[in-house]
């Protein structure tokens, strides 16, 4: 891999163009509007570039359920921890999951107790681990959306062709469109338009949202992650609301096509099938998860290990669920910045680098009593 210079991203951070877009947004936005950026990477970019403060006060940007770690249910986190406690298991995971608290402990605390948890940067690293440790079983924690699921599916197919019998995946994967529908039917949720996640859109394409759009008729714009991408998408949403003509639009055409990436989706469907999944904050959403197909059962950690998961209440006082649906902001949580901080998080939205609470904590300076 070689690293190119930063000039490319500079083009999407031009202050003069930004001012022009902001001016157009001010001219267009003729009413207050609540816009949800579904994706955690958008939330972070909006904070990092100080975009909120540049928009007219009537435009309210809400963070949605698009941070994979944040929407992972406590029951799944408890299952990960239970797996880490098994002598024969090496748990392979992306780094963010380490600090997420389960009901009683976290993976990081289990590591201190001797659990073997390895942070990997790609699922193929987990395959290599399995090859190097034939006497152990490597369990990869599959957490993510349509963006990561294809690479993990590819790893499962690779494990089959390498005949690796000591590798499996705990699939807590989720897919985005059913969650958007669930948001629309959740009481209290009040959203005027959606900034759709760029990375997910690369895979599922514009066609992936059409059913959702046709059913609910809410303004929807797919957006990239640079400041100008985001401002451009906000302008398109404001225009749709001003004209009263909701549309499904693509403001990220340099990466997103109508069809998305059919090859990635094909690999995904060779390994996974839709299943019901439990989301933190949204509950069980039909067809929103990805379970490993029965013919690949040997790679399915939930089938290989008998993991007893009990339903547990959310941590007392934690409002992550309401934050994830845009009903409340972290500032309305009485734990925020006091008992719940990135150093000692209580809810997952404070842990993940894409979490809404972590973003508020890091970038707004509104940290409770600190």
């Amino acid at each position: 891999m070689t690293i190119d210079s930063k000039t490319f991203s500079d083009r999407f951070r031009d202050p003069v163009v930004a001012r022009g877009l902001i001016h157009q947004i001010e001219e267009t936005a003729d009413r207050p509007m609540r816009l949800m950026e579904v994706c955690g990477t958008h939330t972070m970019a909006i904070f990092r570039h100080g975009i909120r403060g540049l928009l007219p006060p009537g435009i309210n940007l809400l963070s949605g359920p698009g941070c994979p770690v944040c929407v992972t249910d406590t029951m799944d986190i408890n299952a990960f921890i239970a797996l880490s406690q098994r002598e024969e298991v090496i748990l392979a995971t992306f780094g963010d999951l380490l600090r997420v608290p389960g009901s009683f402990t976290s993976l990081r605390k289990e590591v201190a107790e001797g659990a073997d948890v390895r942070v990997v940067y790609s699922p193929t690293d987990a395959l290599d681990l399995a090859q190097q440790h034939p006497e152990r079983t490597v369990v990869f924690l599959g957490v993510g959306f349509e963006t990561t699921a294809p690479t993990i599916a590819a790893a499962v197919l690779e494990a089959r062709s390498r005949k690796l019998s000591n590798f499996c995946v705990y699939s807590a994967h989720k897919i985005v469109p059913p969650a958007l529908s669930a948001l629309m039917t959740t009481p209290e949720v009040n959203i005027d338009g959606f900034l759709l996640p760029g990375h997910v859109s690369v895979i599922i394409g514009m066609q992936g949202y059409r059913e959702f759009f046709d059913q609910y008729g809410k303004p929807c714009v797919m957006a990239g992650f640079e400041p100008l991408d985001i401002l451009h998408a906000v302008l398109q949403l404001a225009r749709q609301l001003a004209t009263g003509e909701p549309k499904l639009e693509n403001a990220y055409p340099r990466a997103v096509t109508d069809q998305g990436n059919p090859r990635a989706r094909d690999i995904m469907s060779q390994v996974f099938m839709p299943s019901d999944a439990r989301w933190r904050g949204l509950g069980v959403i039909p067809g929103s998860g990805l379970a490993i197909r029965p013919e690949l059962a040997q790679f399915d950690a939930t089938r290989r290990f008998n993991i007893a998961v009990v339903e547990m209440p959310e941590p007392k006082g934690c409002i992550c669920g309401r934050v994830l649906t845009g009903v409340e902001t972290p500032l309305e949580c009485r734990l925020f910045g006091k008992r719940c901080t990135p150093m000692d998080p209580i809810g997952p939205c404070m842990v993940s680098s894409e979490g809404t609470c972590a973003a508020y904590y890091k970038y707004t300076g509104q940290q409770g009593n600190r």
């Binding site: 891999m1 570039h49 403060g53 790609s122 690293d125 150093m343």
Partner: protein, 335 residues
């Protein structure tokens, strides 16, 4: 000598003596070390003493632009220099893993020696321990340093005043990214080099240009973002920095984008931050730019009376956001 370090090399017996007289003493030779006493005794000049210690566990021990040897020397030299002192003497404690290739140990020590020469300091006492395989990873090094602070020099984290300019002596995050490029699972090709370098001469140049400089910091672990926050908290002042003025090498900026790191929080090992009154800012800036390690120095922002304890950044597109301290570790074992 054997090809690899054995437990016996740390025993205090014959092989330890061999390592000492065959490698360490000749390499770091000076009259104070040659006394081979339990400690070194030396005279001090007028003024106050500055004393600092740091332990280096960087992984990997060799990285583009440096290794654990020069890093351990520069790190402590810089900590002493940031007190406004002229660093004079170092101690060095080695904890070596059994089985380390002798040639790697030599390479690290030679690099430490050249770093001492560059900084004009001497090693006057040391210690070597060897521990069984797995008890440490290859080699850990502790260095302590002593320096003399000239009369009248008062440097501290609490000295920033509203109206001061904030100067950064060069590009951010080079060390952090250089080490990262060598990590398992992330290896990538680049010509990014660690910035590890001694800053004592630069500090003396700053003090000559503006004897009243009150704040000097080297933004190592936690990066520029964390160091600025520490100064703002201690001095009870606010800071405003400008994203567009923050120097980052293009390759480093590209790597940060790709890997999702914020250069404000990545380690530097050859940079300093300085708060100086407005009227002296240009003189200090040109003094820093005279140094071979300060050519890209720039004023990145100013100290304000508003929002004490907080660092605010004006973003490239004109927005504002808080730059908080780093919470938790962005990258373990970076130095």
């Amino acid at each position: 000598m054997t090809d690899r370090i054995l437990l016996d090399h740390g025993s205090g017996g014959k092989m330890a003596h061999q390592l000492m007289t065959g490698l360490l003493l000749p390499l770091f030779d000076n009259p104070l070390l040659a006394m081979m006493h339990d400690g070194a005794v030396f005279d001090v000049a007028e003024g106050r003493l500055a004393f600092s210690t740091d332990t280096f566990v960087v992984d990997p021990i060799f990285f583009p632009g440096g290794d654990i040897g020069d890093l351990a020397v520069n790190g402590t030299v810089n900590d002493v220099a940031m007190c406004g002192a002229v660093p004079l003497y170092l101690s060095m404690g080695l904890i070596v893993e059994e089985g380390l290739a002798m040639i790697d140990l030599k390479r690290v020590l030679i690099s430490a020696r050249s770093a001492m020469d560059r900084a004009g300091v001497q090693l006057i006492t040391g210690d070597t321990k060897v521990v069984p395989r797995g008890a440490v990873d290859k080699i850990f090094i502790n260095t302590s340093g002593i320096g003399v602070v000239a009369p009248g020099v008062r440097i501290g984290g609490d000295g920033a005043r509203a109206g001061d300019r904030i100067i950064l002596s060069g590009t951010m995050a080079d060390h952090g990214i250089a080490v990262l490029t060598q990590r398992e699972g992330l290896r990538f090709e680049s010509d990014i080099q660690s910035d590890t370098a001694p800053l004592n001469a630069m500090v003396q140049a700053i003090l000559a240009a503006a004897p009243a400089v009150r704040v000097l910091r080297d933004p190592t672990r936690g990066g520029v973002g964390t160091a600025l926050n520490e100064i703002a908290l201690k001095s009870r002042v606010g800071m405003i920095i400008e994203e567009a003025r923050l120097p980052v090498a293009p390759a480093v900026a590209g790597a940060c984008e790709l890997l999702g790191f914020d250069p404000l929080y990545l380690a530097n090992e050859g940079k300093l931050l300085c708060c100086v009154s407005d009227d002296k800012a240009d003189a200090v800036l040109s003094a820093i730019r005279q140094s071979p390690f300060g050519r890209a120095a720039t004023i990145i922002g100013r100290v304000v009376a508003d929002h004490p304890g907080k660092v605010v950044m004006t973003t490239g597109i004109g927005g504002q956001r808080i730059v908080d301290m780093l919470a938790g570790e962005q990258l373990p074992r970076i130095c």
